[in-house]
C-alpha cells in the first residue's frame, strides 16, 4: 500500500492578477502540506498573499483576471481545476472557511439560524426542523448562550464575538476536516480574540479538525499553531514548527515580525521595534530576495533568488535567506536573544 495521502497538499501554487499596471503576482510558488488534526498558521503582512492563498484553495478566487497555476489536492483529489459539482461538495463538507469580518460575512437579511440551515441543506436532504435543531446544537457547541432563541435572530442582533461564533458554527455544520480561518480574530476585541482562539483550539482537539490559520498576528499563532509559514510578497520565506519559528527564527523578516511583538516579560525598550518601509508592490518585484530593499542585513548575494530550503535551522525548518547560519546567530544576539535586530548603520 502506498503511504496514505496527506489531508491537504498545496504544491507550487501561483496566483497572478492581470491589472492595468501589469501582471501582479499575489502568490508565487507556495507549497505546503496539512495533516489531519494539525494547526498550520500562515503569517505575514497585508498583501503578502496569505488570504489569496487560502481563498484559492477553496476556489473562491474568481476574478476573471486571475491566473492560477499549481496544484491543491485534498486527499489526492485535485481542486484547482475541479468541476463545480466537486467544489460544491468539498466546500462545507470537507473544507470550511471563516472570514475576518463576521458582520459582513453574514447576510444581513437572513436569520443566523437560517444561514446555518442553508449550509446544512446545501449538502444534505434533511427537513427544515431537523436542520434547525442541528443549527441550534451547533450554536450551543460554539458557546452561543440561549441558542434556541438566538437561532431566530438576525446577524445585527449579535455582537462581534457571537457573530464569529455563529460563523464557526456554520463552518462546522457538515463536520469538515479542514477549517480555513482567514484572520478570524482581526476584527474582534482582544478578550474576544482569546475566546475565539480557545474555541478553535478546543475544536481542533475534540474533533481532530485541521485548521489553517491565516493571520498577521504572531501572538495569535503562538497560542494554537503546530507549524508556521511566514509569507512575504507572495512567497513563503520561512517555514517550520512553532518552536523553531519562535526560538530559532532564520529569516530577517521573521525577526522583524517577532521583534514587533510587545513583550511583557522583558524590560521595555524605548520604542517598539518595527520593520522599516512598506510591503512592496506586487507588480514588478525585484529579482532575488523580495525582502532585500527592506532588509538591514542585505548583501551582494541577495540579488540572487534564494530557494526555500533547510539552511541554518533544524530538521524541516526551511527559509529563504542567504546569510550563513553563524552570521544569523550573531545578528540575532546583537540585541535581544531571538533576533531582535536594530537596523544596521
Amino acid at each position: 500500500m502506498s503511504p496514505a495521502p496527506k489531508l491537504l497538499e498545496v504544491d507550487d501554487l501561483r496566483v497572478k492578477f492581470l491589472t492595468e499596471d501589469g501582471m501582479l503576482t499575489a502568490v508565487d510558488g507556495v507549497s505546503f502540506e496539512l495533516d489531519t488534526g494539525e494547526v498550520l498558521a500562515i503569517v505575514g503582512e497585508s498583501g503578502c498573499g496569505k488570504s489569496v492563498t487560502s481563498q484559492t484553495m477553496m476556489g473562491l478566487t474568481r476574478s476573471p483576471n486571475a491566473r492560477i497555476e499549481g496544484s491543491v489536492k485534498y486527499k489526492s483529489e485535485e481542486l484547482l481545476d475541479a468541476p463545480d459539482e466537486v467544489l460544491h461538495r468539498i466546500r462545507g463538507e470537507e473544507l470550511a472557511m471563516i472570514f475576518q469580518d463576521p458582520i459582513s460575512a453574514l447576510n444581513p437579511v437572513y436569520k443566523v439560524g437560517a444561514q446555518i440551515v442553508e449550509a446544512i441543506q446545501a449538502h444534505e436532504d434533511v427537513s427544515d426542523e431537523i436542520a434547525k435543531r442541528r443549527a441550534t446544537e451547533l450554536m450551543a457547541e460554539v458557546g452561543i448562550p440561549d441558542p434556541a432563541r438566538r437561532v431566530d435572530e438576525y446577524p445585527h442582533e449579535f455582537s462581534g464575538g457571537m457573530r464569529q461564533r455563529a460563523m464557526i458554527a456554520m463552518a462546522l455544520a457538515l463536520e469538515p476536516n479542514v477549517l480555513i480561518a482567514d484572520e478570524p480574530t482581526t476584527a474582534l476585541d482582544v478578550t474576544i480574540q482569546a475566546q475565539i482562539l480557545r474555541l478553535l483550539k478546543r475544536l481542533n482537539e475534540d474533533r481532530g479538525l485541521a485548521v489553517i490559520m491565516v493571520t498577521h498576528d504572531l501572538g495569535v499563532v503562538a497560542d494554537i499553531a503546530d507549524r508556521v509559514l511566514v509569507m512575504y510578497a507572495g512567497r513563503v520565506v520561512e517555514s517550520g514548527s512553532l518552536d523553531q519559528i519562535f526560538y530559532d527564527p532564520q529569516h530577517p523578516y521573521t525577526w522583524g515580525l517577532i521583534g514587533s511583538i510587545t513583550r511583557l516579560d522583558r524590560p521595555p525598550t524605548h520604542r517598539l521595534a518595527q520593520i522599516k518601509g512598506q510591503p512592496p508592490s506586487l507588480i514588478g518585484l525585484p529579482a532575488g530576495c523580495h525582502f532585500r530593499p527592506r532588509c538591514p542585513h542585505a548583501f551582494d548575494r541577495c540579488t540572487e533568488p534564494p530557494g526555500l530550503e533547510v539552511r541554518g535551522g533544524g530538521a524541516g525548518h526551511e527559509d529563504r535567506c542567504w546569510l550563513s547560519a553563524e552570521k544569523k546567530k550573531t545578528l540575532r544576539v546583537v540585541e535581544g536573544d531571538i533576533g531582535l535586530e536594530a537596523p544596521a548603520a
Partner: protein, 311 residues
C-alpha cells in the same frame, strides 16, 4: 401624511393663482360675455372672496364630492372615478410586465457583465430609457395597428365586460409604458447585483457549498431588491395618481392622466387640484407600503429591534 397632502394642495392652489392664466371667470363666461354675467359668475364661483376663503371652499368641495369643473360644469370626482379603472388597468399590467422583464433581464446581464448578452440587454434598455413614450407609442400604433391591424387602435374595454378584449386593447399601452421602466429597473438591478456580488456574505455563501445559482438568487438578487423597492413604490404611486398622461393620450384611454392633461390645457383648476391630491395621496400611500416592504426585506430597519439582543 395629512400634512404632506395639505402642503401639496396649498402649493398647487397658490401656483395656480400666481401664474398668468387669465381670469377663470372670463373663460367660464365664454364668447357671449357681458359685465352682468361676469359679475354673476364671479359671485357664484366665489372669485371675489379672499384667496384663503377660495382655498377652503375648494377643499370643502373636494371632500364633500361637490367640486365641479370650471369648464364643463361636470362633477370632478365623478370624472376621476370614471378614469380610475382605466388607469388602474393600465398600471397593473405595465407594472407586471416591467417588473418581470426588468428582474429577468437585470439578473441575466449581471451574471456575466461584459458578455454579449449583457451588452445586447444594455443596448435595448438604453433605447428604452431614451426613447420618448409618445414616439414609441406612435411607432407601435403605426406598424401594429394602421399597417397590419394586429392590435386595436387604442380605446378601452371594461375588464368585467370582456377580460380578453380588455387585455387585447391594453397590450400596446402596457408595453409602451413598461419599456421605459424596464430600462431603468434593469440597469438599476444590474448595478446593484454587481455591487452585492462583491460582498463578503456572498463569498461566505459560496464557501458553504451553495451552487452558483443558489448564491445568485438567495443572496445576490434578494439583497439587490431593496433599493428597487423604494423606486418601485414611488413610480407606481405616481402612475396610479395619473402619471401616465402621455400613454393615455396616445392610446386614447380616458383615464385619470388623460383627464389631467385635458384640464391642464384648459387651465381648469378644480380637476387639476383634485387630481394632484389624488396623485399625491397614492404616492404617499405607496411610500407607506415601501416602508412596510422594507421592514420585510431588510430586518435591520425594523423598529425597536436594533438595540435589543446585542451582547
Amino acid at each position: 401624511m395629512i400634512f404632506v397632502l395639505f402642503a401639496i394642495s396649498v402649493i398647487v392652489f397658490l401656483i395656480f393663482n400666481v401664474i398668468p392664466n387669465g381670469s377663470p371667470a372670463l373663460r367660464i363666461c365664454g364668447k357671449n360675455c357681458n359685465a352682468a354675467l361676469l359679475h354673476q359668475i364671479k359671485i357664484d364661483f366665489g372669485f371675489n372672496d379672499p384667496i384663503y376663503v377660495q382655498y377652503f371652499t375648494m377643499m370643502k368641495q373636494i371632500f364633500t364630492g361637490t367640486l365641479v369643473s370650471y369648464n364643463s360644469q361636470l362633477n370632478v370626482l365623478d370624472q376621476i372615478k370614471q378614469g380610475i379603472p382605466i388607469t388602474f388597468s393600465l398600471c397593473i399590467g405595465a407594472v407586471f410586465i416591467w417588473m418581470t422583464f426588468a428582474v429577468f433581464l437585470g439578473y441575466v446581464s449581471a451574471i456575466k457583465p461584459g458578455s454579449f448578452r449583457d451588452r445586447a440587454i444594455t443596448v435595448v434598455t438604453a433605447i428604452g430609457i431614451s426613447m420618448p413614450s409618445f414616439f414609441l407609442g406612435a411607432l407601435l400604433l403605426y406598424y401594429l395597428t394602421s399597417k397590419t391591424s394586429i392590435f386595436p387602435p387604442g380605446g378601452y374595454v371594461g375588464f368585467l365586460s370582456n377580460p380578453l378584449d380588455w387585455a387585447y386593447h391594453l397590450i400596446l399601452p402596457w408595453f409602451t409604458l413598461a419599456f421605459l421602466f424596464i430600462g431603468i429597473y434593469c440597469r438599476l438591478l444590474r448595478s446593484n447585483m454587481l455591487d452585492v456580488m462583491n460582498e463578503d456574505y456572498v463569498r461566505t455563501a459560496r464557501a458553504k457549498g451553495l451552487t452558483e445559482r443558489q448564491v445568485r438568487i438567495r443572496h445576490v438578487l434578494r439583497n439587490s431588491m431593496v433599493p428597487i423597492v423604494t423606486l418601485f413604490g414611488l413610480d407606481v404611486g405616481a402612475l396610479i395618481g395619473g402619471g401616465a398622461i402621455i400613454i393615455e393620450f396616445v392610446y386614447n384611454l380616458p383615464g385619470v392622466g388623460d383627464y389631467a392633461a385635458t384640464s391642464i390645457s384648459n387651465l381648469d383648476l378644480p380637476p387639476i387640484m383634485a387630481i394632484t391630491l389624488f396623485g399625491a395621496f397614492f404616492i404617499v400611500l405607496f411610500n407607506a407600503f415601501v416602508d412596510i416592504a422594507y421592514a420585510y426585506l431588510d430586518p435591520r430597519v425594523r423598529l425597536g429591534e436594533s438595540a435589543e439582543g446585542a451582547v
